[in-house]
Amino acid sequence: MNAFGAAIAIARKDLRSELRSKEATNAAVSFALVILLILSFAFEPTGEEIHAMAGGLLWIVFAFSGTLILNRTFARELQNDALEALIAAPVPGWALFLGKAASSMVMMLVVELVSLPVFAIFYGVTLVWTLAPVILLGTWALVVVGVSFSALTVNVQLREVMLPLLIYPTLVPALIASMMLTGNLLDGQTFSGDNITWLRLLVGFDIIYTALAVTLIDIVLVG
């Protein structure tokens, strides 16, 4: 089996186990709904200014509920010392990372697909198709940083506390870009002018952090 095959096998294994237990996605979806509810108290949810805030709201929901999935990425391997076996397996670190990232990406997208229509209904926002690339790129940023830090903190005490503490500051450039783009696109703008700058920042962030993660993952896992 080549490395890409191994990556796919790891992703399929994770998705199958998630499909059977649904522990991470169930928690993340309900958490996303709870955040949507709580945010509605922070301001007038059907007011005029909602378009200006919609981008920010949506990404707060994605980022916060996403940590519940990303926290589990490597932690789920701790049972029965499966992580040791996974590291010892003849699979390059980057393939392991890509497999883990792919399965987390699918789970995140599922959560987002559920919360998007709910968000549109709750806040009276009309969704547009141009959002799709922004959501894909932004979610990949969340996943890359989240999976790397999930590997980083898997053996650390207070793992659940450490992960959010580390990933949100790191994610800030990607989150700002995604929020701005989402808000502008929901406001009826197209990919031009300032939006191109934001898109560049988002793509640049994805490329830099994917490269860093793929390079450093062996060191993180093996030491």
């Binding site: 650390v156 005490q157 450039p173 830099i208 450093l216």
Partner: protein, 225 residues
């Protein structure tokens, strides 16, 4: 010998700082538009550059640790990160005081200010994570990786005033927009603060070494017991 060097460096930096303060507060005239408050630049700008210098040292030492697994590199990385965070906070606080005087507000969510704040948060996360890992090799490895991730934010802070139209004043150093006397005062104060900062890093390094010695003695005692 080493202790004497730290004391010498620290007192030299303190003396230079006193001389600079005399120059800054009593000799240099007020700035035409801003009045007396502009003097904060002599602390604000050096603090930022020194913070980035120490973060850069931490980055180099982190890479060195990953390459050679030398515990010395890890110790230098944590010492300079800690002092770097202090200087970054000095930078934020002085900037905030200046903003209150010139803009009338303590804080604004400007790209440069926000990115500097994010930088502080990232390195604070680094400092908070370290004690949570007990094994020294693992601690060094994971913090080194984290330091590399965190440093990605530094160029964003640096270039933010060029990439976006920000409320933060534009670059004055490279464009030569500063009168000679002020530029020199800035340089002297940078050197003085850098000396003090380096002395602080060396002090922190000593305490780190002592800490490690204690840890290894404790392990030894545990093995013999």
């Amino acid at each position: 010998m080493r202790e004497k060097f730290i004391y010498a460096l620290g007192s030299l930096g303190a003396l230079a700082l006193v001389a600079n303060m005399y120059n800054i507060f009593l000799v240099l005239p007020d700035e035409a538009n801003q009045g007396a408050i502009y003097r904060i630049i002599f602390f604000h700008v050096p603090a930022a550059i020194i913070a980035f210098t120490f973060f850069f040292v931490a980055l180099i030492c982190s890479v060195a640790f990953l390459a050679f697994k030398s515990s010395k590199a890890d110790a230098v990385a944590v010492a300079s990160t800690e002092v770097g965070v202090v200087f970054a906070i000095v930078n934020l606080v002085t900037g905030s005081i200046w903003g209150r005087n010139i803009w009338g507000i303590w804080w604004t969510w400007d790209y440069r200010i926000t990115s500097m704040f994010v930088c502080v948060l990232l390195y604070l996360g680094y400092l908070i994570m370290r004690p949570a890992i007990t094994d020294p090799t693992q601690r060094g490895t994971l913090s080194a990786v984290l330091s590399i991730f965190a440093f990605c934010d530094v160029p964003i802070v640096w270039f933010s005033i060029r990439w976006w139209r920000t409320q933060h004043p534009g670059p004055v150093l490279e464009t030569g927009g500063l009168p000679h006397a002020m530029a020199m005062a800035l340089l002297y104060n940078f050197i003085a603060l850098l000396m003090i900062g380096t002395a602080l890093v060396l002090v922190r390094l000593r305490s780190e070494h002592v800490q490690r010695e204690i840890e290894s003695l404790r392990r030894l005692a545990l093995v013999e017991a």
